[in-house]
Symmetry: C2
Subunit: 148 residues, 2 copies
């Protein structure tokens, strides 16, 4: 079971559950946080570069967080990113899309002074056609095993 | 008025409006996207490293998007980030905090082949005590003036 920094290895992979994105979800998130026409209104979205309603990128990122939290990648330790690098939106997320997440541990750095380490996990969100729609790489502090 | 890539200069600054973050907002966002105890429950949050209820970092980022969209930094052209780098959460966001946003154009790269350029704006979100709570740097494509 993964519980401590010491249990992680570079190349370790996570596979997460699924989340469906509805038309209502897309419009509700956009109305509150990203009120641009292509996230709010089908007719306006048809005329935009998206050629149809698409979720706000921040909405997709928030769904990714939910899927990552559910995976408990560090066991009982929280998923607290002080930093996220390289957020990349690769394809639009549409009403009815079913998203899933995969992660890979890409870097592990033990602290020299504290009983902890920093882990970087590259997460990729895929849609139901196995197209990647989002990647991002948070840096998270994970405690070391008490006996390490 | 800023309308086209050609109207932007490195060092140009934006100052945005304010958004209050309520206890209910924090819990509602967390319940949907980041259901960890320190974003959901006061008693659990007191015992966490946050020492009190704190907003999900993705919630703060979504509020930042709303404040940035309201600024219309590229005039009529949408705020469509294909990439965001260097998301950094610098301090917790608490119930009752009033956030505001400032931006600075840090990089401008005209396309060699298309009538557009890429603009990088570093955004900083401050709380009511002028403490920075979040910085992030999106890369956005902005069209060139038709006569450029």
């Amino acid at each position: 079971m993964i519980q401590w920094f010491d249990d992680l290895t570079v190349g370790m992979r996570y596979k997460g559950g699924e989340a469906e994105v509805t038309r209502d979800d897309i419009k509700r998130f956009a109305a509150e946080f990203d009120p641009q026409p292509f996230h709010l209104d089908e007719a306006a979205a048809e005329k935009s570069m998206f050629k149809g309603l698409a979720a706000s990128g921040w909405h997709t990122a928030a769904i990714a967080m939910r899927l990552a939290v559910a995976l408990r990648p560090f066991g009982p330790h929280p998923l607290l990113g002080l930093a996220v690098d390289e957020l990349r939106w690769l394809a639009p997320v549409r009403p009815g899309d079913v998203l899933r997440i995969e992660g890979e541990v890409v870097e592990l750095t033990p602290s020299r002074t504290k009983p902890q380490g920093t882990a970087r996990v590259k997460w990729t969100v895929y849609n139901q056609n196995d197209e990647p729609v989002l990647t991002f790489t948070p840096t998270v502090i994970v405690p070391r095993h008490p006996n390490s």
